[in-house]
């Protein structure tokens, strides 16, 4: 008997299985196809705005995605460098062949983890407690917890024009019965849709007609524990190209042949990820749309055509692709398709990612209604951690909205539910100024150390970094500029010269001053990350303090737990909409309750008073 069975070997499953193993659980990872572990069925990249920060958080908590991405990419960019520290985020072009290989290596190193092939079609459940899984061949495997990370495989249908094929991504199998069985067990099932664009044979592309997209010349890593794995000048290029009027005309002419507009699809697609036909219809006045060509792997002769996802029939796709400049003679190696799949209602999930209806069942990734590798991995990590914590008899790890993007992600899911596949955006995080790329370790490593996912060496490195930050903060107060001697340095850089002698802290507060400049006046010999941290914290102190103050205000209602047995019918004076929503979502804290749409501040006040009265709540 296993402690934990993880069903599905995608990005959520890998993190869940690994971390539960790290925490000492005996884990079985079941996948339909051993060759598909950590597969990247869509875009060949890891990170992106907000998503890159999630990868940093996964790494800070002891997950794998950061290290594996660092070992497998061939281009890296720090996005939004000039737009502010809070919105900086890494994006890497990851090699689709190398990434799964490196992930598999990491999993194979985990002594507590076994990986087997098997298609799960049902769960073993007694009195609403999950006790294992049942395979398609009828074989039963028992465990104390089950984590479902089935991705798009539940009753998946691939749509190309009017063709509708029951199949997982790229012709893989699908699970035919699991979602029906979950429904029988009391879960609400929703139908979602996503899509992927064409893959193009590299040798058939005329790159001279496209614009080069290069990586950065500064190399950051996702992981806090790893050095760059190749030289920065060895990066691969991507290319930029545009649709044109001819492309749009073809799409308009054949619109009704697409799965979406022809009425062949039933799932709800992500609004942030519209198909190319959606873009043409919704933004009819735009003369062109931007597309990218990204290599899938340095070992494959295949490129990904980002921005061109469609559910048109194949012959229309040929016409569409050939209308693009540089792709006139392109050979399509894989056609674009839309895929529909079953997911469960996120409102039936606890913030720990354990199911509300079925005990000891955890879910993570697309089955919860999200989209994206990073969102899946972040949830997988938390599901794995919380399954282990539960078996250890400990409280679950629930990250707050002001602690991590992963916290925002899960809170949004379980509080608001999902209508279309959920992608993380910086706009979703009201505390994004606190949830930065640069401070992921400062935010989360101690938590990781406490639950046993971060080792002593990593922890000590963090403590040293903290000490250095503190030391540097004191030093810049102690030292200051020498007006006579240093004025020339300001002149050289065309910077305003301070009117009086000020210390470096005050100088750093000036928006135009960087630590790089200060180091030309007075050398502060610290690690790059330490300098960066102090620069951000000093320069934006006012804004950051304000954000912490807001977060502090939340803390009080964040700490007010709502007992699981509360009967909202007995809370008099609640508005009826609030009563209905609260009964459905059953928030864990007053703060979570306050975020439910339709629950007003007066309802929260009434609830607070009720809790105090009935439970003598402090």
């Amino acid at each position: 008997m296993y402690d934990v069975i993880v069903v599905g070997g995608g990005h959520a499953g890998c993190e869940a299985a690994n971390i539960a193993g790290v925490m000492g659980m005996k884990v079985l990872l079941l996948t339909m196809n051993l060759n598909n572990i950590a597969d990247m069925p869509c875009n060949p990249s890891i990170g992106g705005t907000a998503k890159g920060v999630i990868v940093r958080e996964i790494d800070a908590l002891g997950g794998l995605m950061g290290v594996v991405a660092d070992k497998s990419h061939f281009q890296i960019k720090m996005l939004n460098n000039s737009k502010g520290p809070a919105v900086r985020s890494l994006r890497a072009q990851a090699d689709k062949r190398v990434y799964p290989k490196k992930m598999r290596e990491a999993l194979d190193n985990n002594k507590n983890l076994e990986i087997k092939e098997g298609l799960v079609e049902d769960l073993i459940v007694e009195d609403n407690i999950v006790k294992g899984v049942i395979l398609d061949n009828g074989k039963k495997i028992t465990s104390k917890c089950v984590i479902l990370t089935t991705g798009t495989y539940l009753k998946a249908n691939v749509l190309v024009g009017s063709e509708n094929t029951p199949s997982g991504p790229h012709g893989e199998g699908r699970s035919n019965h699991l979602s029906d069985n979950l429904k029988k067990l009391g879960l609400n099932i929703i139908r979602l849709k996503t899509g992927t664009p064409e893959r193009i044979k590299a040798s058939s592309i005329d790159f001279s007609k496209c614009t080069e997209e290069l990586g950065d010349d500064i190399y950051y890593t996702f992981s806090h524990d790893i050095k760059p794995c190749y030289k920065i000048n060895e990066q691969q290029k991507c290319y930029l190209l545009y649709t044109n009027e001819k492309t749009h005309q073809i799409i308009r002419e054949h619109l009704n042949e697409s799965a979406m507009y022809g009425g062949y699809a039933t799932g709800v697609g992500p609004r942030y990820c519209p198909s190319i036909e959606d873009k043409i219809v919704r933004f009819a006045d735009k003369p062109r749309h931007q597309l990218f060509l990204e290599p899938e792997s340095i070992y494959y002769d295949e490129w990904y055509l980002q921005g061109f996802s469609t559910s048109m029939p194949r012959y229309v796709q040929e016409e569409m692709v050939h209308s693009l400049k540089g792709l006139e003679n392109a050979i399509i190696t894989k056609y674009a398709y839309a895929i529909e799949y079953d997911a469960i209602s996120a409102l039936q999930i606890n913030p720990s990612l354990e199911n509300k209806v079925l005990e000891n069942l955890f879910t993570a990734g697309q089955i919860n209604g999200t989209s994206g590798y990073e969102e899946a991995a972040g949830q997988g990590l938390i599901a794995g951690i919380n399954a282990a914590l539960k078996l250890q008899g400990k409280e679950p790890l629930i990250l707050k909205r002001n602690e991590a993007y992963i916290g925002v992600l899960i809170d949004d899911l379980v509080t608001k539910g999902v209508k279309d596949p959920y992608r993380m955006l910086t706009s979703r995080a009201e505390f994004r100024l606190i949830l930065r790329h640069d401070n992921a370790d400062l935010r989360l490593r101690e938590i990781g150390y406490k639950i046993g996912t971060i080792n002593k060496e990593q922890y000590e490195r963090l403590q040293n970094k903290k000490k250095d930050i503190q030391k540097l903060k004191e030093e810049i107060k102690r030292w200051g500029i020498n007006l006579e001697k240093d004025a020339i340095k300001f002149k050289e850089k065309n910077l305003p010269i301070p009117k009086q002698r000020i210390n470096f802290e005050e100088l750093l507060k000036r928006p135009e001053i960087t630590f790089d400049f200060i180091n030309t006046i007075h050398k502060f010999d610290y690690d790059k990350e330490v300098l960066e941290q102090v620069e951000i914290e000093v320069k934006y102190e006012g804004y950051i303090k304000k954000a912490y103050k807001e977060a502090e205000k939340l803390k009080k209602i964040e700490e007010k737990q709502i007992p699981d047995d509360i009967d909202y019918k007995l809370v008099s004076n609640l508005a009826s909409e609030a009563r209905q929503k609260l009964s459905e979502i059953r928030p864990k804290t007053l703060a979570q309750a306050s975020r439910i749409s339709g629950v007003n501040p007066s309802d929260i006040a009434i609830l607070a008073v009720y809790l105090k009265k009935e439970y003598n709540h402090e």
Binding site: G84, T196, Y272, S309, S427, P511, V609
Partner: protein
């Protein structure tokens, strides 16, 4: 840490003193910031301290401030109470200043709610607190809605939409940096838009400050022949109520003689000097002038002399004012009666202490002030709206100040979004994902 909240704690009936209560962790910080006198942070708990409220260099009021440190206070938080001289305008002004300095206007019943949650009130009282919050909030909701006249709320929404568009553009630049087809918000494009929004908000503030309910109160004209005692009546009313010497902005500034607070409402007496001083040409100019005053006033008090026969001019005057807009006051009731009058009138004099009570009661009756009192919250929610507008303005100014320097767009946006949130609070229509909806409907992004 909870917000620090403030509200007028006394009923706003006519009274010399009104108390503004401030409760929360920052109560002492905020009040000491605007208080000139002893250092409130150093005085002993549960003491009363004399001084002045001073804001932006301007002395607002002479006050007594009670400092009560937790836990022995009503809310079990730090509580500071400002005893002001009760003029409606002054009280309102202090409230506004407190809100500008970081207090939040208390929700109905919120002090009591805190008292309960902090364990001050016993459990038996819970239900009544509950009902109070509920009842008052419903009323507040209704009133907030009623208060927003169609145009005002439309205007707020229009201005806010401009900010939403700007923010959606900034957000799409941040979340989809690789889309170089999308207009990138730069300082050059942002500044004119923000300045436009700023002037919109300024205009709204000016309008609100000029609006009748907030600032002007109710205009009352005292008219009559020379020497019937108009000035004595006015002076008596003003004296009794420690009249507020108004500094009312707007069109009426020059002609408001003085104001009193009656049942919590501001009553402005309109100067009728024009009529007074043209004794010889009453027929000619007087009628014309009084016509003007009568048309502009909300209420006209026609003063007659008990000791004299009624004149033709006076009869014309009575006829010229609609019944529901006038009070006929027969003055000098202490002298012999010679007047002969058919219309309904009230009797009074300026000699005895209670000589004008009839007049005041009649004003209350005619203007229906007792019923207006029930709409108490109108006032509060307007202070709320005005202070939110001012907060929005402050945030916009901050954003405009930071543009053009080296402050990254993400930081500038913090102030823009603060302005956006403040405006949203006015109309109460902040819904989840509003920004994302705009983002995805305005911009074409995706894989």
């Amino acid at each position: 840490m909870e917000d620090t909240i403030c509200a007028v704690a006394t009923s706003r009936m006519v009274g010399a003193i009104s108390i503004i209560r401030v409760s929360g962790d920052e109560a002492l910080d905020i009040v000491s910031h605007i208080f000139k006198g002893k250092d409130l942070k150093k005085v002993a708990s549960h003491t009363i301290n004399y001084g002045h409220i001073v804001y932006n260099g301007e002395v607002i009021d002479e006050v007594l401030v009670s400092v009560m440190l937790k836990p022995n206070t009503y809310t079990k938080e730090d509580v500071v109470e400002i005893n002001s001289h009760g003029g409606l305008n002054t009280t309102k002004k202090i409230l506004e200043i407190l809100i500008n300095c970081g207090c939040r206007l208390a929700e109905p019943g919120e002090f009591t709610k805190r008292a309960f949650l902090n364990g001050r009130i016993d459990l038996a009282e819970a239900e009544s607190v509950n009902d109070l919050i509920n009842a008052k909030t419903d009323m507040a909701r209704k009133l907030a809605l009623n208060n927003l006249t169609g145009n005002f709320s439309k205007e707020i929404k229009r201005v806010r939409q401009k900010i939403t568009d700007v923010m959606a553009n900034i957000e799409v630049n941040i979340d989809y940096p690789e889309y170089n087809d999308i207009e990138v918000v730069t300082n050059d494009t942002l500044l004119p838009k923000l300045k436009e929004v700023k002037s919109d908000v300024e205009r709204l503030i000016n309008n609100s400050e000029n609006s009748k309910i907030i600032k002007e109160g109710i205009d009352v004209a005292i008219v009559g022949k020379p020497n019937v005692g108009k000035s004595s009546i006015l002076n008596r009313l003003l004296d009794e109520d420690k009249a507020i010497v108004t500094d009312i902005a707007g069109t009426t500034r020059d002609i408001v003689e003085g104001s009193i607070s009656l049942n919590g409402f501001l009553i402005n007496f309109i100067d009728t000097a024009g009529i007074r001083e043209t004794e010889d040409v009453v027929e000619k100019i007087g009628v014309q002038k009084s016509r003007e005053v009568i048309d502009n006033a909300d209420l006209v008090i026609i003063v007659l002399n008990n000791n004299e026969k009624i004149t033709e001019y006076e009869e014309d005057l009575i006829k010229s004012v609609p019944k529901n807009k006038r009070i006929i006051m027969v003055n000098k009731s202490d002298l012999d009666r010679k007047i002969d009058l058919e219309d309904k009138y009230i009797l009074g004099n300026t000699v005895s202490d209670k000589g004008l009570d009839n007049l005041k009661n009649e004003i209350i009756k005619v203007l229906d002030l007792n019923n207006l009192m029930n709409k108490d919250l109108t006032y509060a929610s307007n202070v709320r709206q005005l202070s939110l507008l001012k907060k929005a303005l402050k945030s916009l100014e901050e954003a405009i100040k930071n543009i053009g320097g080296y402050v990254p767009i993400d930081m500038v946006e913090i102030d823009i979004s603060d302005a956006w949130k403040h405006l949203g609070e006015i109309t109460g229509e902040v819904y989840e994902d509003e920004l994302l909806d705009t983002l995805f409907s305005n911009f074409c992004v995706g894989k």
